[in-house]
Symmetry: C4
Amino acid sequence: MEFPISNRYFQESSRDAQEAKRQLVLANRILANEGVFDAFGHISIRNPEDPQTFFISRAISPELVTMEDIIALNLRGELAQGNPEFQTFGERAIHCAVYEARPDVMCVCHPHPLELIPFASTDVPLRSIYHQDVTFYDGIPVFTDLTPECGMLINTLELGRALAAQLGSRRGILIRNHGVVVVGESVPRAVYSAITLRDNAKVLLQALAMGSEIHYIGREEAEAGTYQQFCKLGLARSWNYWCVNAKKAYPDIENLEH
Amino acid sequence: MEFPISNRYFQESSRDAQEAKRQLVLANRILANEGVFDAFGHISIRNPEDPQTFFISRAISPELVTMEDIIALNLRGELAQGNPEFQTFGERAIHCAVYEARPDVMCVCHPHPLELIPFASTDVPLRSIYHQDVTFYDGIPVFTDLTPECGMLINTLELGRALAAQLGSRRGILIRNHGVVVVGESVPRAVYSAITLRDNAKVLLQALAMGSEIHYIGREEAEAGTYQQFCKLGLARSWNYWCVNAKKAYPDIENLEH
Amino acid sequence: MEFPISNRYFQESSRDAQEAKRQLVLANRILANEGVFDAFGHISIRNPEDPQTFFISRAISPELVTMEDIIALNLRGELAQGNPEFQTFGERAIHCAVYEARPDVMCVCHPHPLELIPFASTDVPLRSIYHQDVTFYDGIPVFTDLTPECGMLINTLELGRALAAQLGSRRGILIRNHGVVVVGESVPRAVYSAITLRDNAKVLLQALAMGSEIHYIGREEAEAGTYQQFCKLGLARSWNYWCVNAKKAYPDIENLEH
Amino acid sequence: MEFPISNRYFQESSRDAQEAKRQLVLANRILANEGVFDAFGHISIRNPEDPQTFFISRAISPELVTMEDIIALNLRGELAQGNPEFQTFGERAIHCAVYEARPDVMCVCHPHPLELIPFASTDVPLRSIYHQDVTFYDGIPVFTDLTPECGMLINTLELGRALAAQLGSRRGILIRNHGVVVVGESVPRAVYSAITLRDNAKVLLQALAMGSEIHYIGREEAEAGTYQQFCKLGLARSWNYWCVNAKKAYPDIENLEH
């Protein structure tokens, strides 16, 4: 037995739709409990049984998401499965466009942790200073082409596709004055990247305020670090920790297998 | 059913005095739970059944306010309804003067989140850097005409009216070395604006410490953003989230409909 | 009935030894719960029945103090009342020396909130920027005459008396690289001053990092503000709030009258 | 009876393997509860019954460690005692190398509190500004010789030994862009040093942002201060406080003697 909390081995990638939905509920709660999500933000997972669709919650706060709130959308943002009366996020466009452009991506996450906003509102690059945050070794550009009428939201497929184009093959992209989009090959990887990116921003803000030269993590170091952090043991350790704490904070999900 | 937590549709504007009082109790608890209020601060709602009066709690800490603590005052600050033995806030003058000057305003909120005080104590403008905080597109002036003997409080109708005059048609005004007054067409809008303004200040303080040029949100962008944030779906999502969390933190209000 | 939580009117000054001890337990818990105390720090109250002695807890962390942990010391720091096996604080010298020098003082509090240390370790004055923190209008000097062998503690009567001499008639004095001593005419006043001083430091650190000119609260304004904050209604409101929250955090004192 | 919480006198140094394991579980939970550990980090204690081995948890998050998760390793990092199916930390190399080089050391702790990272990523020295943090009077160097392929981890005996060599006879060493290693003659001393070092970094970051000259604690003062903080009474007070709070946070260990 690898983990005392869970009765099963860590399964990084969801093998079927049911597992995908369960991971998605856990991810919503984890990111809320770790302070990455607040009232807003959303995360989705590509449907392993139908990769042209993805699971996402209806338009409620991440902290409140249950299995019953999960719907499936297609890559045009239309309802593929679930209650037709449910409201959907205007920003589902982000998810549609990224899944369309990136067959390797299984999870798209869009939070707005306050620590990231200074980097989304200045020209100061969000470089890696903290060894947990190594997965963005390809850099994190800032998407600035918001239109005056969009209301500061990526709420059309056109905007979503422009964002996905600038994202390219990277793991993340900031949105000007708004937040970030983080992607991953699995839910645990995207969750890991989102949490550690926020932590890195917190550290970097403090380091920048010191006014001294900063030694950043090199690209080669970061690639080797990503291998270490994304190995089964490393990822399982943090995923388990985040799940345990989310279940403590939200007893309604304490029986959800993780 | 739009929200799993509440059994009724989101009703942004109170339709009668009873609904107004209930919204006011929720707003007190929400702002306490979200860290916008501490031992001090107050919020009021115009009485939908008698617009020349408004509901406010007696002079206790916001976190402790119950339905039984609500009184009604007229625009001269005199008791219109409620227990005559209750103490009232010296700063009720703020509420009186704003309701008098602004028929469009249904809610007045006066918190002192610490993050705002640097902007109330320097000439650095509190501009919008974070996309959730878009509702103050008309700017936030600083009221500086405190008199030496006022004890740093807006505790006379004269001071309240001077503040209301400088507020003009805006959504908020800082008070020098003191705090802020935030107004709205409804309780959820004022609560939304108060919370996001605090968040924006937190981000802006960090961005300013970086010493780099800041890209602020433009006025046109902010107006379009306000439309998005104040649409029924957006506002309902955050209001529901804040209510759920306030009810978790304060079980004595868990049966109060929201 | 003035407060729904408490069944009796707010009694600012303890009238007998029993009330004094009860206030002291509450003050320990309040300052722990509000983050002003951590594992260390101590607070005392002059014995209203024998002003040449004062009550203080034995040498345990403030959060853990109960009625059974209170002892009385005389102004030479010797046990006047209580269990002779109890350990006493080495820094009781601070309390002895201040009560000796200041007949007006009924409460001495010595916390080390981290926000104050930058002002205790630089020449930047800790001036009032936030309207709740108005009670230190006479300024807050820094006591720097620590001896190399004192271990950074005020643990002799000689050091205590040097500190009390520099304190003079003021309400507070910082200790270099260490913390602060805050005094008051009553426990609620000293607690109020200690909490708001910490908040003021938090704000001032942020304002200083902005690099812009700061408008401080004037002396006349601060005196008038102190009158407002220390009036019965104002002080009762915050004391009640802090008590309610401390009792929530520490259920073992929930039946202690406040 | 010295402490109301515990039924026995404070025993700083573990006298047998069972006591050592119990201290280790407590230390894991304390450092998690005090925010020094998060999902990652580890702490070990030298086996008092076989000093060529040490106890450490298997590779899970510190917050989750129970008596059942403790294993013993020898100084080559091989399992000496415990479940052979348990995963071990790649970074056990740190513990092996330090115990090998430092017979005086009974406890090795490796956390990554975010506040330390700016000092591990710049040339700004982490000097003592706060009187609780006096135990590092010999200074805290930064280990920078990470190899490109190590993944930012000290995961070979060679790297561990290089780190131990630079540590020398000191109490701590930072690791570039990564975290810190703190050692002590006992678990309570290492825990004390780790917590106060984090607090000191928090204060120093704020002081540095003020841009004014900082008065640091002198070496002689710090040595005298360490004597005070590490005396039985001082250390017992904080250890007891941290244990009580860890047990509140993690009820599963509430019956573990401390």
